[in-house]
Amino acid sequence: MKLNHILTFLLLSALSFGQNPTQLLREAEAKLGSADVAAEVSIRTVRPKWERTMEAKIWNKGMDKTMILITGPTREKGTVFLRNGDEVWHYVPGIRKIIALPAAMVQSWMGTDFTNDALINAGSLVEDYEHKLLGVVSIEGNPCYQIELVPKPEAAVVWGKVVTHISVKHTLQLRTEFYDEDDYLVTTLLAKEIKNLGGQELPYKLTIMPADEEGFYTEMTYKELDFNFTFPAGFFERSNMKLVQ
């Protein structure tokens, strides 16, 4: 049994030598982060004394186009976030106004534990960071490549360091830890319950957990994923923010 373990470990370690971390990340990112996809999600924010669930639709095209439409609850219904290239816009139906959001955004997104930056303006883990393969570790029983990412000097990113774990089996980021400039863990992103979604093996739940708040987390659950969505012309334009459904 023990020998078996060691053998597996050795085998995986050997495996890790042949892997290019940048290539691994690119593959993992292509699975969801930069795919052309339309999704329906529910976002549950949990606090020690209360919790709150929002429903949303997300459209994503390539690395730099994202549209998020909040469909519930009533107070937030119709709120839209749009990222197109470097520009990020926020449509507030209650006051019928589109507001430009600043580029680097670490504030909470809609009261969740996601930051604006993480959800809308994610930046690219492939382009903005230098990668180093640290080895193979086990995340909830799944062997994963552990990769350390340090931002390139010129990259405009909010993190000081990122450590991600990409599963050997599905090439999915199962656990990603975000550190600040002083090497303190700020938040952890977990991918759980890998299922067949829209024809691909993908995590059904994404959970983000701030490191310094006990009992705080936000869980995003995919209800529907469509990889065959065709985006009409002008879909990611500002003018579409008031119309999108």
Binding site: T45, R47, W50, R52, R75, E76, T79, H90, V92, G94, I95, K97, I99, S108, M110, G111, T112
Partner: protein
């Protein structure tokens, strides 16, 4: 002996007057300097604490540290009637405070939003004297009053619409479009740059927290010691609420005051060095002028110790007199500048406003300062008169009479 000293003082009126004047000016100088320093802080604390934030505030436990709306209190279950019965409590002021991005066209700024009931507010936020244009908002309306500095930054005038965007109670989004009904000048420069006032109910609606308060200010009767009231109120707070006094609300303010006072102490110490030498100068002058006289007195049989004692007594009377005159004369000055502060202008004004201080110099009218500094100058006077003692004790009568 005392009589002798008294006569000596009157024998040379010019010399005595000079000594008294020297002591007097030293006292006036030290007291004025100190009064301004203490007075500016006194005024600032009074302004921030008594007029705007209150000496005592009640919040949900943890609110003040986290400034999160999630730590709000339900106004319906708040036992404020019970608090009002405590001796020294005049009223309980209800507020909802939070932050918001406020924008007008392309300009936006993070602002402090206060939902208030002006008719029940502290003097600084009653919006009677503070309004510089327009009017106060109607209760429950979609109207806001913007502080002067913020209005200037956003380039808004009365009648414009402002957009508010923030995060509300328990993660709800907070937004609103409100009309500026008035612009108010808030005396505290820091608040004047970022404060938006709106009706309490409007703020509760915007932040999705109907019936919620973040803050209950305990308004005190004038002259009441807030620490005593705090002690009386503390047992009524229970597990959920925190009762904070202003020293806990604004520890930075206390620190800044202490740092500034320490700087002032150094300055005063230097001043006292100068004062010591001025006084020493008058003593040296006195001794050298009277060297011949001392010589004659000693040679006709007066004991040196007795002579020294008389001289010291003279000096004591003079410095005491000077100190008392100084302490008294400076009093009207202190009162004058308390109510007619020196208004700084030009570069000085800009520099001070950058540190969020009101560019006006106030004095304090506290008597303790006068007594303290009068006493210090008096002690210095006593110390320097030891020069005369030393000089007399080693006096050689023959030599001194010839000189």
């Amino acid at each position: 002996m005392l009589k002798l000293a008294w006569r000596n003082i009157w024998r040379n009126k010019v010399r005595s007057t000079i000594t008294i004047a020297a002591v007097m000016f030293c006292v006036i100088f030290a007291v004025v300097l100190r009064s301004f320093q203490v007075g500016v802080w006194e005024h600032m604390v009074d302004d921030i604490v008594a007029n705007n934030f209150g000496y005592l505030q009640v919040h949900q436990k943890g609110f003040w540290e986290e400034q999160s709306l999630d730590l709000s209190m339900d106004q319906a279950t708040l036992p404020s009637d019970q608090w009002r019965e405590v001796d020294g409590v005049r009223s309980v002021v209800r507020r909802l405070e939070s932050f918001s991005l406020v924008s007008m066209d392309q300009n936006n700024r993070g602002s402090l939003v206060l939902g208030i009931e002006p008719q029940h507010e502290l003097p600084g936020l009653q919006l009677t004297d503070q309004i510089v244009s327009g009017n106060v908002f109607e209760p429950g309306s979609d109207q806001v009053v913007v502080s002067e500095g913020l209005a200037e930054f956003l380039k808004v005038v009365v009648g414009d619409s402002l957009l508010f965007l923030s995060q509300g109670y328990r993660g709800a989004s907070a937004y609103g479009q409100f009309v500026v009904s008035g612009i108010a000048k808030i005396s505290n420069p820091e608040l004047n740059k970022q404060l938006v006032l709106m009706p309490l109910q409007t703020a509760q609606w915007m932040y999705n927290g109907m019936g919620l308060l973040t803050t209950a200010v305990i308004d005190l009767e004038p002259g009441v010691d807030h620490k005593e009231v705090k002690e009386a109120l503390q047992p009524m707070m229970g597990e959920e609420l925190e009762l904070l006094e202003w020293e806990e609300l604004f520890p930075e303010l206390i620190q800044t005051i202490e740092a500034d006072m320490a700087g002032g102490q150094i300055f005063i110490t230097i001043l006292y060095f100068i004062i010591s030498f001025v006084l020493l100068g008058t003593v040296i002058m006195m001794v050298s002028e009277r060297e011949r006289e001392f010589g004659i007195l000693v040679s006709i049989g007066m004991r040196k110790s007795k002579l020294a004692f008389v001289t010291v007594l003279e000096n004591l009377i003079l410095t005491l007199g000077g100190a008392i005159v100084g302490m008294t004369l400076v009093k009207p000055l202190q009162f004058y500048f308390k109510y007619n502060p020196i208004d700084l202008s030009g570069q000085m004004k800009e520099a001070i406003e950058q540190f969020d201080f009101e560019p006006k110099l106030y004095t304090t009218t506290s008597y303790i300062i006068n007594l303290n500094h009068g006493a210090i100058v008096f002690i210095i006077g006593v110390l320097v008169s030891s020069y005369a003692v030393w000089k007399i004790m080693k006096l050689e009568p023959v030599k001194s009479m010839r000189s």
